[in-house]
Amino acid sequence: MNKSTIALIVLVIGLILLPFIQDSRSILILMTQIFILGVFAMSYNLLLGYTGIISFGHAMFFGIGAYSIGLIMRYYEPTYLYFLFAVVTTLILTAIVSYLVGLLTLRLHSHFFAMFTFAIAGLFLVAAEKWRSLTLGNDGITFKIPDFFKDRVIFYLLSLGLLVLAYLFFRRFTQSPFGKVLQAIRENEKRVESLGYRVFHYKIIANVISGMIAGLAGIFYAVSLRFVNTSVFSTEITLDALMMTIIGGVGTLFGPILGSAIVQFAQYSLMDLAKVHWIFERWVILFGIIYIVVVMFFPSGIVGTVKTWFTRRNKQILGKKKPEGKKSMESSKADAMKNILKGEVDG
């Protein structure tokens, strides 16, 4: 067990204890949102960071999840069985939709794929708005949930559980043979083909997995609000995922979680500051500035930038220690250290 695993375990234990240490309702809700959107951003990062696909329609999977639970809870009964039914429905629907979208579009160049997914997500949005008899359009629907989920602390812990599971899953997944092929596709698609891999299949599978996990995040999101309206299909949701991923660090496991925390926290505290000075009512400005600053000064995201610092520092240490000539014990130890370090931020 290496340092990074220990650090993560400590962090998770801390987070489990948090609701018992402090009792601010709003902090709890904020943390829950961070967890849920963190999962959503991680699913997005699988496409953007690990496979090199830019999607502008990720909200559609999030929305499918949110509406599945909302509609089933409202029109059937808020029981555990139906809850489970909603989860299964979400997984099946997102799998089908992501499979079809992938089939149609993954052969296109990046920005065309982006626009295509954007259009399809747009269709979902319009459908949700226009099918008023079912969705009540933009007014949205409120719904009841099984009592168990109503408890804020329990729901907080469940969301945390989802996040941890997703993290472990992605950590495993990206280190697996399959995950490595995805990263190779990101690097050089043609070459992957000539190694005997069916690139298209890999992309579709990545798209499906990403879509299904985004759907799960959508369920949690809707449950946390006990309300769902058309905004879950909006482009802003996709853009949020994009921003969180980029701010945290594209292609790193922990990046999207950190990104989610930063974005949510910034939104929360900036909105709070509105009471202090009117300029903070326009907190979106500061938000936009953050985007610009991140792109200018942290082009590989926060985790990515920190990673580079570490590697550079490590290299310097290495350079000083490394004797000329043959590879010494010491340098191989340093190499190993570097690997651990890589593991620390990479998974």
């Binding site: 495993r172 697996s176 043979p177 490595k180 050089n188 043609k190 083909e193 000539s194 005997g196 599978i205």
Partner: protein
């Protein structure tokens, strides 16, 4: 001898210009055939047609008597045609080791394994290390491919091809861009494959000494067409080849 790879009248044109025109070529099993010719003669295009990167405008490509003309590179690789690229074509942000391991993984048929950790694939890891040491890159296993020197990337390129362990190896100027000192090592590797394994090798190369030294047979291409095909000594004696490629210099100097 058995023919393993064959082209029947393949032609490839780009915007009306025929890069490869009407080439019929037979390569026997376990032979090392070099393809020579001036730049722009269509050698790399021919490779692309064999490995599936390009589809011919006309003609057929056969592997062990089976039509593979319409197959994608993926399937041709699986059927046993592996290639290295003239322009270095590795995965820059993966380590050397990971680069090679991807090739081993493909060869071992581990395609869709999503959840087992790589450390549980000892065989794959071992094989990858083995191949890396064959091309003298084992000390660079954990370096990112983009941080390698140009010559080392060429070696990595060859390592990936070796790791695929295909029946047919297409080597596109394996030593291009390598320093003079590195060339003999790579030659040694190619020789080894030729001697110890049952592999068919197609080689594009400009260094005539190397070509003469290694080849069982030589094919000369000129302006997209096949000019001559035969044993090295036949080719060297062929007058047409001399005027077209070797430059008529023999005539002048003799």
């Amino acid at each position: 001898m058995d023919t393993i790879i064959e082209t029947i009248n393949v032609t490839k044109s780009f915007d009306g210009h025929e890069a490869v025109s009407d080439v019929s070529l037979k390569v026997s099993k376990n032979e090392l055939k070099s393809i020579i010719g001036p730049n722009g003669a269509g050698k790399t295009t021919l490779f692309n047609l064999l490995s599936g990167q390009l589809k011919p405008t006309a003609g057929e490509v056969l592997l062990s008597g089976e039509h593979v003309t319409s197959l994608s590179p993926t399937y041709r690789t699986r059927k046993g045609i592996g290639r290295s690229f003239q322009i270095t074509n590795v995965f820059p942000n993966l380590t050397c080791f990971e680069n090679v391991r991807l090739a081993v993984q493909s060869k071992e048929g581990v395609y869709y394994n999503m959840l087992s950790h790589f450390t549980s694939h000892k065989k794959i890891n071992d094989l990858a290390h083995e191949v890396l040491s064959t091309v003298l890159l084992d000390s660079k296993a954990e370096e990112l491919a983009k941080n390698l020197a140009h010559g080392e990337q060429r070696k990595l390129e060859i390592a990936m091809l070796l790791a695929l362990d295909t029946e047919v190896l297409l080597l596109d100027e394996p030593t291009a861009g390598m320093s003079i000192e590195e060339v003999p090592k790579i030659l040694e590797v190619i020789k080894q494959i030729k001697e110890t394994q049952n592999r068919t090798i197609l080689l594009i190369e400009h260094k005539m000494d190397m070509v003469l030294d290694l080849s069982d047979s030589i094919t000369v291409m000129f302006n997209g067409a096949l000019l001559a095909d035969g044993k090295p000594e036949e080719i060297m004696a062929n007058e047409q080849v001399q005027t077209a490629y070797l430059g008529g210099l023999y005539n002048e100097s003799s």
